[in-house]
């Protein structure tokens, strides 16, 4: 399901770091030896303050904009950005032009990824043809062609009937169905979370309930069909509560949350900066707290960037006219380390788990781990190193980052993906 450039593997000795692997239960200063892409030795070693070696990250929600908008991102640039962010694998969304809704389109992406993907990438295919919400794609054939899951991300599956069929049919291919939860009749014309900030600034409101009613519907369908379901980019407190109730009732539902929803609230919109405009929108402080708590207690098991590159000219317009979406691959760890770990809202090891094993499990992938004999998927972090985020530092082809101008603490010093050193700084 995951594909990247074939070729060499690396050998390397990494020393001086505190090794944290929540999956293996490791938290100790160790020297890690990699030979030909495989971890061959773990030995007690010295530790340097701030230096942490962990299983590399996996981002289950990336827009690579290919095919159709390779001026904004390509497989090469998007996976290079992922490498720079500490990711050893990413999952790409199918809302491209054309949509990834046929084995032919998927096969051409897989082919391209074999040539240019810096880190392994998995491609999700659409739930419905052209993502129009009317007819199911040929999910069996798409799964055989390597689809890593199914989603109509960017759009909700409006028809409850179609959503039910997609869940029923998922038992045939075994891949995860992932949903963008939005009730369009409640969110139409909405640019900003419905609340005091939108009221004051005059923006059309995109209410929390526009997400949570769809979350409730889809959880209800997943419960009825007894099928797993993945909820994308949760933003509202009510959604987290609904998810928690469903999980307690035995529904195999997983969910993800983005760094921007974890770090910011709708207060940021007062800047009228188009780089804080995304769907779902930044919400209230209470929503943010619920998301952080959900991530901490595991109700939400994944951090996902929803990395959504946009061309400069498309964001260089008044807020209301700007498209939704922000980049995130290259700032995710630093943002969360700065806004959640440093102030004590989340433990570092919990964050590391939610950025790596959590997303892997949600999509049925092998969690990266630090163990003798395991393929090397590692990230070396300097949690104390701070830098100011600037446009010229990005590997992504787009620079529509909400973190521009922010000073963030947490540097990705080294990324090893599938046994290969893919980033070193």
């Amino acid at each position: 399901m995951l594909v990247s450039r074939n070729g060499y593997t690396d050998s390397r000795v990494i020393e001086g770091a505190r090794v944290i692997d929540p999956v293996e239960g490791i938290d100790a200063p160790l020297t890690v030896t990699i030979e030909n892409g495989v971890i061959t030795r773990l030995e007690p070693g010295p530790g340097r303050p701030g230096l942490v070696l962990a299983p590399a990250f996996l981002d289950p929600h990336v827009h690579l904009r290919t095919p159709g908008r390779d001026d904004e991102e390509t497989i090469a640039s998007g996976t290079a950005a992922a490498a720079a962010g500490g990711y050893c694998a990413i999952l790409a969304m199918p809302n491209t032009d054309p949509v990834v809704d046929s084995a032919a389109v998927l096969a051409s992406l897989v082919e391209q990824a074999r040539v240019e993907a810096v880190v392994p990438v998995g491609f999700l295919a659409a739930i419905s043809k052209r993502q129009e919400g009317a007819e199911l794609t040929e999910m069996g054939e798409l799964a055989d062609a390597g689809a890593a899951g199914f989603t109509d991300d960017g759009r909700p599956v409006v028809s409850a009937g179609l959503m039910r069929r997609a869940l029923q049919y998922s038992s045939v291919h075994g891949r995860r169905v992932a949903v963008h939860c939005e009730e369009p009749t409640l969110t139409r014309g909405g640019h900003v979370h419905e609340g005091a900030v939108a009221a004051e600034l005059g923006f059309g409101g995109y209410p929390s309930v526009g997400e949570s009613v769809m979350v409730e519907r889809d959880l209800g369908l997943a419960a009825y069909e007894n099928r797993p379901l993945h909820l994308m980019h949760l933003s509202a407190r009510e959604s987290v509560e609904a998810l928690s109730r469903a999980q307690m009732a035995g529904v195999a539902a997983t969910a993800e949350v983005t760094p921007h929803h974890l770090c910011l609230t709708d207060e940021a919109v007062r800047s009228l900066d188009p780089n804080v405009k995304m769907s779902p929108p930044l919400r209230s402080g209470a929503d943010r707290s619920a998301l952080v708590e959900g991530l901490r207690d595991g109700t939400i098991s994944c951090v996902a960037t929803d990395h959504a590159p946009h061309a400069r000219q498309e964001k260089d317009v008044p807020f209301e006219e700007a498209p939704f979406g922000v980049t995130g691959l290259e700032t995710a760890f630093a943002a969360l380390n700065t806004h959640l770990v440093a102030p004590g809202l989340l433990e570092l090891k919990t964050l590391l788990e939610r950025m790596s094993a959590g997303p892997a499990r949600a999509f049925g992938l092998e969690p990266p781990r630090i163990a003798v004999g395991a393929p090397a998927n590692l990230v070396l972090l300097d949690t104390e190193s701070a830098r100011r985020v600037t446009e010229d530092g990005f590997r992504s082809r787009s620079a529509n980052s909400w973190a521009l101008g922010h000073t963030l603490k947490g540097k990705v010093c080294l990324t090893v993906a599938a046994g290969r050193v893919v980033h070193e700084a």
Binding site: H191, E194, G195, A196, V197, A198, A199, E200, L201, G202, F203, G204, G205, P207, L272, P274, Q313, D316, V317, P318, F319, E320, E321
Partner: protein, 243 residues
């Protein structure tokens, strides 16, 4: 120099940023902009060296309208602080309402927003005003400020109110709903017989023509101050929020 979208390069797909940069090349002292998108004046201010006056950006703000309304109230009633102003109608889509709430509250007035619950934005109380869906709430006010009912909001399927007829019946400002001495204001243009009864609009207590006159002098004053770099001492925060 006056530039309209129709017939300009905007029609040919020129971005606002490029329009602003083009105007900036003429080295203007002041750019006055009215634009359908929230944040357009801010973008122009960021890319030009001119003073930028927001003459209305979408449903966000209409600062000079609020200034002229404050001026009118001050002239007619001798004060703003302590007055009770009821703003009636489609607050949700009204930049006039937002600027007025902000300005009136800043000057110490009490503000009540009155209208259909579908047209009162959720959370607006954070601007330190009250809300009511009952037209009777205007009775206690010193000033009844009537907003224009925008007909495009009544399009089929919008469902903000079932019909203009029902809106007028429930929230129209009629002679029965105002009392003598209660001042009535409207930013214009009016839909007589919809949000405001012609008898109210033409009554001696209506300040609507005074508002128009105030508009001229207040906007002259804004331009004068910007062109002469005065008034010298304005508390920066207040100046930014109002203008």
């Amino acid at each position: 120099m006056s530039i309209k979208a129709a017939g300009s390069s905007v029609d040919k797909g020129e971005s606002l940023k490029d329009t602003a940069l083009t105007l900036n090349a003429y080295d203007p002292d002041v750019i006055v902009i009215r634009h359908a998108a929230i944040g357009a004046p801010q973008l122009v201010a960021e890319v030009t060296g001119a003073h930028v006056v927001n003459a209305g950006d979408g449903t966000h703000q209409h600062p000079t309208q609020a200034l002229l309304d404050l001026y009118t109230i001050q002239q007619e009633l001798g004060r703003i602080e302590g007055l009770h102003v009821a703003i009636v109608g489609d607050v949700l889509h009204s930049r006039v309402a937002r600027s007025n709430v902000q300005a009136l509250v800043m000057c110490g007035a009490r503000v009540t927003l009155v209208g259909p619950p579908t047209l009162i934005p959720r959370g607006i109380e954070a601007m330190r005003c009250e809300t009511s869906s009952d037209i009777e709430a205007v009775a206690a006010a010193d000033v009844v400020y009537v907003l224009r009912m925008q007909r495009e909001r009544m399009q089929e399927g919008a469902n903000y109110v079932p019909s203009l007829r029902e809106y007028t019946a429930r929230w129209g400002v009629t002679p029965e709903r105002v009392r003598p001495g209660q001042k009535v204001m409207h930013p214009g243009p009016m839909n007589r017989g919809v949000e405001i009864d012609p008898r109210v609009a033409d009554a001696p207590d209506a300040l609507i023509e005074a508002q128009v006159r105030a508009g001229l002098v207040v906007r002259m004053a804004v331009l004068y101050d910007l062109l002469t770099h005065g008034p010298a001492v304005v508390p920066t925060e207040a100046a930014m929020e109002v203008a």
